[in-house]
């Protein structure tokens, strides 16, 4: 290792870093979409990306030409932050969106809003940003974690169950899930288990559920974990004995297609479903089915709504990228959501209806998620009171 070695090395490193971003100066409004495309969570990021792009008609959102730049955060908070910095500082992007996981959002969002840009969340919504740490440049179009599980608790109560066994992974969203469920479930809790986030075998838990013999099981296991859980629930012979109530993430379209019959008969609560009978949703579903050969997950619908919300804000400012003006226009939520009703609460998180849905076998023998009725109307979240905007 000599002087020249070191010099050559450093120059090479710099050259690489320089090539990292290519400056370009075009007229369209740039939107930075940071999402998770690699690893097990990659399918969620894919639906978020595709849902967002689907809302763009002829390169325009709200009549304003836009350009979406997509990058993969690989579920690493540091990488997400680095991409956000590049978007804001090198490319001058003022509108960011796309993050799937709350740990990435926790790292990225404070920098974005403090840096004078706005962040519109199509999925992740950590509770601290809904309460004390809320910010005028931060909007959530999806839902606040707790309200998701509150709707499941209410659903279980409505369905007349008295004794619930509840499970979630041992991490903040998992703990929020059980807390949210218990807040709205009126019956007794027969058992409560925290599973591991990297668990691949739930046999031990199945045996405990069987031993406790509850009326109903509530579980929150997003993505691959949920697929594993449902399969093993069926194989343990519990599916036909003890009914299950879940929230949307444990019964999305991908889960249903991956587990098949194991999903049959599960009750869920969701803010959106493919069969919603409103014009915006019909348009979304038609466009989706034309472009993609898969059933959209609710992540795709949230991202589509996010794009529409951004479009409405851009329309409101006449295409001017002024973050304060955009925020003011965004708060009106002047767009037709695929969920039907949609408005922002005082903390700029959604106030929306929650619906009971159920996985049922259709005439074609395939399992589909069918809407059954309303659980909660105009439901906001528990943290809005702590937010001083």
């Amino acid at each position: 290792m000599t002087l020249r070695t070191a010099l050559t090395g450093v120059t090479a490193g710099l050259a690489l870093a320089l090539a990292a971003s290519t400056a370009s100066a075009q007229a369209p409004v740039k939107i930075g979409l940071i999402t998770t495309l690699s690893g097990p969570g990659g399918y969620i990021g894919e639906d978020i990306r595709d849902g967002f792009k689907l809302a763009i008609k002829d390169g325009k959102l709200g009549g304003v030409p836009v350009e979406v730049i997509v990058e993969d955060d690989a579920l690493k908070p540091g990488q997400g932050k680095q991409i956000a910095e590049k978007f804001m500082k090198n490319d001058g992007i003022k509108i960011l969106t796309g993050i799937v996981f709350s740990n990435v959002a926790s790292a990225v969002v404070p920098d974005v809003v403090d840096g004078g840009a706005m962040y519109v969340s199509p999925n992740a919504a950590p509770s601290n940003f809904a309460g004390k740490e809320c910010h005028k440049n931060y909007f959530v179009v999806s839902w606040q974690n707790d309200s998701l599980h509150e709707s499941a608790g209410q659903n279980a109560t409505n369905l007349g169950y008295k004794k619930a066994f509840i499970l979630a992974p041992n991490y903040p969203a998992g703990k929020d899930a059980l807390t949210g469920f218990k807040r709205f479930f009126k019956g007794e809790i027969a058992g409560e288990i925290y599973t591991k986030l990297d668990q691949t075998d739930f046999a031990a838990e199945m045996a405990q559920i069987r031993a406790a013999n509850p009326d109903v099981v509530f579980q929150f296991h997003p993505g691959g974990l949920g697929i594993t859980f449902l399969r093993q629930y069926q194989q343990a012979g519990l599916k036909d004995k003890i009914p299950m109530v879940v929230a949307a993430p444990s019964l999305d379209a991908t889960t249903v297609s991956a587990v098949g019959d194991a999903a049959d008969g599960i009750n869920a609560s969701s803010h959106w479903n493919t069969d919603f009978d409103n014009p915006a949703n019909k348009e979304f579903m038609a466009a989706w089915n034309k472009s993609f050969n898969r059933v959209p997950t609710y992540y795709a619908s949230q991202s589509y709504d996010t794009a529409l919300a951004i479009g409405a804000a851009l329309k409101g400012t006449g295409g001017k990228v002024d973050v304060d003006a955009l925020g003011a226009a965004m708060r009106k939520a002047d767009f037709q959501s695929v969920r039907g009703k949609f408005k922002f609460g005082p903390n700029q998180h959604p106030v929306q209806d929650w619906f009971a849905v159920k996985a049922e076998k259709g005439a074609d023998g395939k399992i589909a998620i069918v809407t059954k009725g309303v659980i909660l109307k105009d439901h906001g979240d528990a943290y809005a009171a702590q937010c001083k905007l």
Partner: protein
């Protein structure tokens, strides 16, 4: 009582899956001296090949053959193309190279089969549960997994200790030059051993299909646990891999099953649950650290 028995069976089933992965890893480790991080990728290959063939043909037999064949063939290609050139190199070079292979395997799988987890059903004849004792039923599929794993263990024992090939493998590990001097193509044997390890990983993958989520990155989730098994059992020892895997499977399952209940008797509910979840996650690592401190070469070292 039946609850304990059921949890023990669950532990055995997890242990058997770990054994299939660990057996290949420990052979490659012990015989060729290679640290292969991409072993989990071969597990993924087995799971994907079986899932896709099952979806296309609906035949369980074809899907099993596809899973085994794909894993073994791709394993041997990797050995011939990359690992063969690394036998003489430092362990660190092997780590970097096989890490690169993980990236390539994962992204290629995404490219070919998309990002969505695949659907795999339990074969018709293994569906449902059987009543082992009055009031105690257990899934047939899981019993079958335990059975297959134990059969493989017996088969491997016979292959390594009772056949000519096995003798050459053992000799090749300790006296490489001598075996070559006797006119044996040692490189061929290495390729075959690697292929065998890949085949076992593929078997684990295809059997995991109906139980777990078949998706990109599934190999890395179980890779570290497999290394734990190999080290606890003793590197290079198939017997060690079997016993290590069963111990790890049982410890992991039983801690998760019974620790929260035990802790709840001495402390408050939520605190007990949080502590139990933390301790049971650490359990196998604690076990490994203890084993290594007491017996640094593992419980059943290959050349005691």
């Amino acid at each position: 009582m039946t609850l304990v028995l059921e949890q023990v069976l669950n532990g055995l089933q997890l242990g058997v899956m770990l054994f299939l992965l660990a057996a290949g890893l420990t052979l490659v480790f012990g015989v060729m001296g290679v640290i292969n991080l991409a072993h989990g990728s071969l597990y993924m290959v087995g799971a994907y090949a079986a899932a896709i063939v099952a979806a296309k043909t609906g035949s369980a037999v074809l899907s099993v053959l596809a899973g085994l064949g794909a894993a073994a063939v791709i394993g041997m290609i990797v050995e011939l193309g990359v690992l063969r050139r690394l036998y003489a190199r430092d362990h660190l070079d092997q780590v970097l190279a096989t890490f690169a292979l993980i990236l390539i395997f994962n992204e290629t799988t995404t490219l070919l089969f998309g990002r969505k987890p695949l659907f795999v059903s339990v074969p018709k004849m293994l569906e449902g549960s059987v009543e082992l004792m009055p009031g105690f039923t257990y899934p047939i599929y899981r019993l079958a997994v335990i059975g297959v794993g134990l059969l493989v263990a017996v088969g491997l024992y016979v292959l390594i200790n009772r056949t000519r090939i096995g003798m050459l493998v053992r000799a090749g590990a300790t006296h490489r030059q001598m075996v070559r001097a006797l006119g044996v193509d040692i490189r061929m044997i290495f390729t075959l051993v690697f292929g065998l390890g890949a085949l076992l990983a593929g078997l684990a993958g295809l059997m995991a299909g109906p139980i777990l989520s078949v998706q990109v990155g599934m190999g890395e989730q179980i890779l570290i646990l497999t290394f734990v098994v190999v080290v606890i059992g003793g590197i290079g020892s198939v017997r060690g891999a079997l016993l290590g895997a069963l111990i790890v499977g049982l410890v992991d399952t039983l801690l998760r099953a019974f620790l929260p209940g035990l802790l709840r008797q001495v402390m408050q509910g939520p605190d007990a649950d949080a502590l139990a979840a933390g301790v049971s996650s650490m359990g196998v690592y604690l076990l490994m650290a203890l084993v290594l401190l007491v017996r640094p070469r593992g419980l059943f070292p290959a050349h005691a």
